[in-house]
Symmetry: C2
Subunit: 322 residues, 2 copies
């Protein structure tokens, strides 16, 4: 085979990619990673999804938290909190080195794709981890009103206010209703070097079990991406991020509802129908397989919960059809 | 008394200021600190002299190194070195928090003087630590040729090349000869809020025992500073950074020679004569007291080596004439 290209968000995608490198030679795997979650904080350029994929494939991720490094220390954050600094986005001491390195290399004029490759190489990884774009792409969330106004008020935001993804996801713990999602900068973005070639040349294009709205959404919003994936539709296999109608992690189910989609594998299938040929769903959703097919996709039913790398590898065998 | 204003560089100045707050009420002390050493590294705004003064007065400085925090950990630097990142400028984990905080606050639109005050307050300090300017000021070093070319070659720079102060001071360990010093940005700089008032209102203006060329030089290069200090000349007391013709730390003696000045307290006196009324010199230089007076300054001879806060306090009593 010529390779696998994965459209990837954070934790779920990282586990799938971790499984893939056990199933196919790592240098045949290209993870095309969402950068809509990226932020500049403390002057540092932070790419949370790229780092989650990198750390997970390196078996260096903290398994409890699902983000950041295992055996991490927190001296910088503790000292920062004594200053009254911004500490809601937790950065461990060793994790900080990733952001220091990325920021300095970008300031040196190196592109984000090359820096990401340097970091993956330093972790000894053989796969290709590529940002979907090197231009700034920022997922912005418009807060909706809630019935009593209490949740929004408690969060210190206003209905109609637009906030950054990390404000929504980490600072507010996605505890406010969402009226809309926008990918700022998408119009001026271009796929990063290697992205379109990886999609065009892959035997299989995998849509990872990531949030369809705020992880896969920004990836597909980069001009050129949608056409590239649509052209491969017959070879595009998505893994549902919902199991029994619930996201394993994060607000995917809630976001789908809030934005008018069905919060089920059928909703996923309807969203993905234009560019995905096959949807892999969990056994818990077997009774919805016909609904997936009715949306125009092939449907494969298997165990999708990646409790460990072995489960991830087993899922990948199914995804790749072997 | 209405207060003491100190023109300050790094280690020597920090020890003097540490002594001052034992001798006069801290809120009557204003340290006006050199920012020509400042740099942006890894995207972080780093103000080494400000931090050295802050940490020293807080009794948090590492006493062996003379920079950074005591009981520091180095997880971020170790991880950064695994990436092949820039590690010649060592940033401890807790020290990093200072730079994260400063950088974020500046990005928030807060001025460097206010941020510096916030940091000092977080350390529980009662004195005023003020950057000489909030505008970018960068001490630039032009490398000279050496006789054989070996030192310059070994450093990987070229004679005539202009490098940043930290490149010269930290990365190259000031092991290359210097042809010239320039304070980039000085023309557009203005004294930071509070600086001119502190000088005008002080009973005594102290020129700390800092490098006259690259610590006091940039402070005096900010437009308005020289006139403000000259106007107080009779009340300006400098402490010689040379003892027996040698700098206690750093390249002050060598820089004086390389730039055509006498590398002695007489050379200091000649440099400072336009704006300093009194020079405090060490007992080791007592035979040069007449040379200092010949340059037009009063001369006070005492012990100037600040081995500990008590020695610093004793020196401060002499400096303040009581």
């Amino acid at each position: 085979m010529a390779g696998v290209a994965v459209l990837a968000g954070g934790v779920g995608a990282a586990r799938l990619v971790r499984g893939l490198v056990d199933v196919v030679p790592p240098d045949e795997v290209t993870a095309i990673v969402n950068t809509g979650d990226d932020m500049v904080l403390h002057g540092l350029v932070i790419s949370p999804d790229i780092d989650t994929v990198t750390y997970t494939v390196a078996d260096a991720i903290d398994p409890e938290r699902g983000w950041g490094l295992r055996d991490e220390s927190w001296q910088a954050m503790e000292a920062l909190s004594r200053y009254g600094g911004v500490t809601w986005f937790r950065l461990g001491d060793r994790d900080l080195a990733t952001h220091l390195y990325r920021t300095q290399r970008l300031a040196d004029g190196v592109g984000l794709a090359a820096v990401t490759a340097e970091i993956a190489r330093a972790w000894g990884l053989g796969l290709h981890i590529v940002p979907v774009t090197e231009q700034p792409l920022r997922t912005m969330i418009t807060v909706a009103g809630d019935e009593t106004g209490a949740a929004v008020l408690a969060a210190g935001v206003a209905a109609g206010e637009e906030i950054s993804f990390q404000d929504y996801f980490v600072r507010l713990q996605h505890a406010v209703p969402v009226a809309g999602v926008r990918f700022a900068g998408a119009d001026a973005a271009r796929p990063a070097p290697g992205v379109l070639a990886a999609i065009a040349g892959a035997d299989t294009v995998v849509v990872a079990p990531s949030n369809p709205i705020v992880s896969i959404g920004p990836v597909m919003a980069v001009p050129g991406m949608r056409d590239a994936v649509v052209a491969r539709r017959d070879d595009v296999v998505a893994v549902s991020p919902l199991v029994g109608g619930r996201a394993l992690k994060g607000p995917a189910d809630r976001l789908l509802r809030e934005l008018g989609h069905a919060d089920s594998v059928v909703g996923i299938a309807e969203l993905y129908a234009p560019f995905v040929g096959t949807l892999v769903i969990d056994r818990a959703d077997v009774e919805l397989a016909d609904g997936v097919r009715a949306a125009g996709l092939r449907c494969v039913v298997t165990d999708t919960i990646m409790r460990d790398p072995a489960a991830a590898a087993a899922l990948c065998h199914v995804v790749l059809g072997r």
